[in-house]
Structures are given as structure tokens and as C-alpha cells.
């Protein structure tokens, strides 16, 4: 899977309340509607700025806080193709894999707002086209790679009816 897009850069400790606020998430299961409010408390214009395939790039501890799966789902429905960060909080990380949103762990100091990235998940390489550099990405545990490649945990259960790892 190769992903291409522009960077929307955020800092450390981006929590799931910032990704999708409790003000919105309790009201509806309409993820297209929730997507309009992604990152709203940090950047009210965020949704309007995103082009299909863009990336959210953060620092340390991305996705900390609440277990709300509306966070990755709203990101997916805002047409973001992957989240890239130095490290992730564990519940968010699992939720992304389960919902089929690629999460990429790597050094993000050399990635800036507006940079163009190209990510090859199989090869494990992130190419910053703007800066002309390659950044190594941490491999996913095999269980997660399998769930992600099957399109998420719902698809996994549809196929096997329970957990069935290679």
C-alpha cells in the first residue's frame, strides 16, 4: 500500500478529545458528520483544509486519553490516509488498526506543515518529497499487520468469526 499526501502537523500529547470532542461524539454514529469536527478545538479550519489522502503528523503520545473509536473513524472520514507520530497511546493505536487506519511510528522532527510525503507501508519507508529524505518507520507487530491488511477487525471477524492469526 503506497500513500501520498500533504502534512498537517501537530505537537505532542494530542488527545482524543482534541481529535473529536465529547461535545459532538455522543450525539451520533454519523461519522461523516463527526469528521467535520476533527481537530476543531486545536484548529477550527482543519476539516476545510484537508485534501483527500493527507496525513496528520504528531509528536509524542499521539491519541492519548479517552478510548473513543470515533477518533480514528472521524479521521478516516475526513479523508486522512494515515497518522504519523513519534509514539502513540496504546488504546488509540489499537483502535486505528481495528478500524483500518494506518498508524506510522517514526521520528517526525524532520516533517513540517505542508510537506509532501510518500509512504510505502510494505517496505517500511516514509519519503519526505519536500525535503528529499527517507525516514525509517517502526514495523507493526504481525497481529496488527494482519488485521490492518484484512481491512480491520470487523473484516477479520466476518471472515473467521473469531480471532484467527497466522
Amino acid at each position: 500500500m503506497e500513500l501520498k499526501g500533504r502534512v498537517h502537523k501537530f505537537g505532542d500529547d494530542i488527545n482524543t478529545d482534541y481529535i473529536i470532542s465529547g461535545r459532538h461524539k455522543f450525539k451520533t454514529l454519523d461519522m461523516k458528520e463527526l469528521a467535520k469536527h476533527v481537530m476543531e478545538d486545536l484548529d477550527p479550519d482543519f476539516y476545510a483544509k484537508v485534501a483527500k489522502g493527507d496525513f496528520i503528523v504528531g509528536g509524542r503520545n499521539f491519541g492519548c486519553g479517552s478510548s473513543r473509536e470515533q477518533a480514528p473513524l472521524a479521521i478516516i472520514n475526513a479523508d486522512i490516509s494515515a497518522v504519523v507520530a513519534k509514539s502513540f497511546a496504546r488504546i488509540f493505536y489499537r483502535n486505528c488498526i481495528n478500524t483500518g487506519l494506518p498508524v506510522i511510528e517514526c521520528d517526525t522532527d524532520q516533517i513540517d506543515e505542508g510537506d509532501e510525503l510518500q509512504i510505502d507501508l510494505q517496505a517500511g519507508v516514509l519519503h519526505n518529497r519536500t525535503k528529499g529524505i527517507d525516514i525509517k518507520i517502526a514495523p507493526l507487530p504481525s497481529v496488527m499487520l494482519q488485521i490492518l491488511s484484512e481491512g480491520g477487525l470487523i473484516e477479520h471477524f466476518k471472515k473467521y468469526g473469531t480471532f484467527n492469526f497466522n
Binding site: 488527545n15 473509536e69 496504546r90 489499537r94 481495528n98 477487525l153 471477524f157 466476518k158 468469526g161 480471532f163
Partner: protein, 418 residues
């Protein structure tokens, strides 16, 4: 080689010799969801083409986050939960019953040695009674409802050795805020925090819940404690189930160990907008406060209400300050009623509201206005958390909140605690 509590529980539940770093599929003793996460899980359950939960007696759903419903959209999601609960015959807690993390142990669902998942990040609370309990998202919840199992990466452990006894007026909330400030919001990411030492031994089980509840705020997967006589008595008073407690081996391997002396700790306050932005109360005393909140899964238990009522008794809160009190459950509310605590709160000028999470998660029941400062006994102070991204949230113990609302400014509670 010895094992940590987390390794022992995951070994037992997976039938494997589980060591930190391994991936295991383990049997779940209990599975819980609340109204912010269950509707998506119910949807995923249907999409996974499941028809029955693995064991209705081991499943609970709780309406607590927006309870009672403030909006028609929420009402529809609540309706879906009620229909699912009726059809599946699971344990179900409706509006007014209380906050999920109070109800699960209080209603006897959780016992020492259990492996529990809950679709709420503060599921780590039950570590205080020696259960490996951890938060998951809605799709993992759906998988757990169907299979009665989940895959886990066996966490490394971070041991906190807490020596000394907390001084008067300093509570378990102050201690956990201090620890989070020290190790930071990702200091224990993906690890099993283990809290022990004489400071923990000296605490009541209710006070211990506050510490395990906030393990997630240091990134931990669970916040475990060993079981002592107090734990065993507490669990026996709440549950009919048989149980065996789990102790770490003396030669267990810890990725990190930190020792603290808590005997000179001051009350602590987390400042906006992160939980690890912690100061002793003396450094923030005098900060004006427009609203106080006492309650939530962190500090809405009967002991918390007694501490707050002890300070508010016979006094009035500042006339420019509001106070919201939300007991953690119907049982807590009834007990507080019987003890006359609710009368003290109401007389002091508080608004006592339905047991639930409302004010903490910004759904309803006390959204602050722009520029206001709130001091709350909750566990999160993220920008926008209480429903307004232009408000500022401070976190403290029930005593600190009660003392602060008396004067309309952050106040050291120690002189009011006998």
C-alpha cells in the same frame, strides 16, 4: 524467572507462559461498555454477523456519559443500547444507576485475578482490587462480546514503591497527580503500572481506586495493586463470587522501578490543559474559580463525599462560584442521603445532579463559559474537555475542590481537614 501481576493474570487466562512482549489471546472474565462507546460496538457486532454475546452474565452496559439524555440524538443511541441489552439478557444499568467504573466493582462484577476489558479508558480502575482491567475501543469491545477473548500484548511493568504515610489533608488523588506530574503523560505507555508500598497499604480500598483510575493518565495499560486483607474484605462485601488473589513474584522483572517518600507531600493540582502539568497547591493558591465539580469515576465515592461535606458543613460557597456534586452511583447517593451529606451540599449552595459522567466529559450538566476556571475532582483537564475549549480546568482532591469553592479561589484544604 519470576512474574509480575500482569504476567501472572495473562498467563492464567491464556494458558501460556506469558512474558512481557509476548502476544497472547486470553479469556475475558468481564466485558463492559458505556453509552459513548457501546452504540458503535453494537453496530460492529451486527457487521461482524454475530447474534449472541459469549456469556450474558459476564457482560454489562451502562448509560452514564450522557445521563439522562440531553439531546434526541443521544436518546436514540440509548434506545439502541436498551434494545440490545434486552435481547441479549446482559447486565444493564440505566440513567441514575451510576458511573460504570463505580458500578462494576460495587455491584460485584469484578474480583481479584480477573481479566476485564471495558470500552472506556478508565477501565484500569479495577486494578485497585487486583484485576487486570484495561480500556479498549468499540471494535475490540464487539470482538470481546462475541468471542469472550481478546488479544493482548503482555505489558512490561513499572513498579511504584510508595513509602511513608500521606499527611492529613493529603489524599490518594494528590498522590496520583504527583506521580503523573513526575513521570509525565506517557511515562508508563503500554506498561502495567504496579502501585505498592506502605502508603498504599494505609489507604482504604476506595482511596486506592482513585490511583488505579488515573493509571491511564500516565499512559499505562492497567494500574495494578496487590490484594491485602482490606481488598479481600471489600470484595467479599460486594461480590458473591469466589476468588484467588494474585501476587507478583519476589524476583519478578520490572522494566522500571521508582521509589517515593510521600510523608511530606502537599496537596497537588493539575493545571490546564494537561494532567501532567502538576503543581503543589501552594503555587496555584489564589487562582480565581467560577465552578467546582465533585464526583466522577475518580472521586465520586462515599468517602470522597464525606471529605467534601466535612469541609462544607455549616458553610456557604462563594457567591460568585458554583458547585456541582455528582455521586458516583445510586448506592453512593442513597448512602450520602442517609448520612445527611446531600443536605450539607445543598445547604452550602451546591447543585446535586444525577450520578453520571456529564460534567467531566462535556456532554451536559455544567459546561463552563468562555474564560472560566473550573476546579474538578475528575481525571482530565484537556482543553474543551468539559464542553468549552475556552475554559480552563484544574484538577484536585475532593478536599481541595471543597475548600476552593468556599472562597472562589484555589485554596489549600489542609486547615479545614480535621
Amino acid at each position: 524467572m519470576g512474574k509480575t501481576i500482569a504476567e501472572k493474570i495473562l498467563s492464567q487466562k491464556s494458558g501460556k507462559d506469558a512474558k512481557a512482549g509476548d502476544i497472547v489471546i486470553a479469556d475475558l472474565d468481564f466485558v463492559m461498555g458505556q453509552d459513548g462507546t457501546s452504540p458503535l460496538a453494537i453496530k460492529a457486532f451486527a457487521e461482524m454477523r454475530a447474534t449472541k454475546v459469549f456469556d450474558p452474565a459476564r457482560v454489562a452496559m451502562v448509560i452514564d456519559h450522557s445521563s439522562p439524555s440531553p439531546l434526541e440524538g443521544v436518546s436514540e443511541l440509548h434506545r439502541q443500547m436498551r434494545v440490545f441489552a434486552d435481547k441479549q439478557g446482559i447486565n444493564f444499568y440505566d440513567i441514575g444507576d451510576g458511573v460504570c467504573h463505580q458500578l462494576m466493582p460495587e455491584q460485584g462484577h469484578i474480583i481479584p485475578g480477573d481479566l476485564v476489558i471495558g470500552a472506556d479508558s478508565h477501565t484500569c480502575t479495577y486494578g485497585a482490587i487486583n484485576a487486570f482491567s484495561t480500556g479498549v475501543g468499540s471494535t475490540d469491545l464487539a470482538a470481546g462480546l462475541i468471542a469472550g477473548k481478546l488479544w493482548f500484548k503482555v505489558p512490561e511493568a513499572f513498579k511504584f514503591v510508595l513509602n511513608g504515610i500521606l499527611p492529613a489533608g493529603v489524599f490518594s488523588k494528590d498522590l496520583i497527580l504527583y506521580l503523573i506530574g513526575d513521570v509525565t503523560a506517557d511515562g508508563a505507555t503500554y506498561m502495567a503500572a504496579e502501585y505498592g508500598g506502605e502508603a498504599i497499604d494505609a489507604l482504604s480500598v476506595e482511596q486506592r481506586f482513585t490511583i488505579s483510575n488515573m493509571a491511564i493518565e500516565m499512559g499505562a495499560k492497567c494500574g495494578l495493586m496487590e490484594a491485602d486483607e482490606k481488598t479481600v474484605n471489600w470484595v467479599k462485601a460486594h461480590s458473591q463470587k469466589e476468588f484467588a488473589t494474585v501476587k507478583a513474584d519476589d524476583d519478578a522483572i520490572y522494566a522500571r522501578v521508582k521509589e517515593y517518600d510521600v510523608s511530606t507531600l502537599e496537596p497537588q493540582v493539575a493545571k490546564p490543559h494537561t494532567v501532567d502539568n502538576v503543581s503543589p497547591v501552594s503555587q496555584v493558591a489564589g487562582t480565581p474559580i467560577q465552578q467546582g465539580v465533585i464526583g466522577t469515576c475518580t472521586n465520586g465515592r462515599i468517602e470522597d463525599l464525606r471529605i467534601a461535606a466535612g469541609i462544607l458543613k455549616g458553610r456557604k460557597i462563594d457567591r460568585h462560584t458554583r458547585l456541582i456534586v455528582a455521586p458516583a452511583s445510586r448506592q453512593v447517593m442513597l448512602q450520602a442521603m442517609r448520612e445527611g451529606l446531600l443536605e450539607i451540599f445543598v445547604e452550602a449552595g451546591a447543585a446535586v445532579v444525577t450520578p453520571g459522567c456529564g460534567p467531566c466529559v462535556g456532554t451536559h450538566n455544567g459546561v463552563p463559559s468562555d474564560g472560566e476556571n473550573v476546579i474538578s475532582t475528575a481525571n482530565r483537564n484537556f482543553k474543551g474537555r468539559m464542553g468549552n475549549n475556552k475554559a480552563f480546568i484544574y484538577l484536585g482532591s475532593p478536599a481541595t475542590v471543597a475548600a476552593s469553592v468556599l472562597f472562589g479561589k484555589i485554596t489549600d484544604p489542609r486547615e479545614f481537614v480535621k
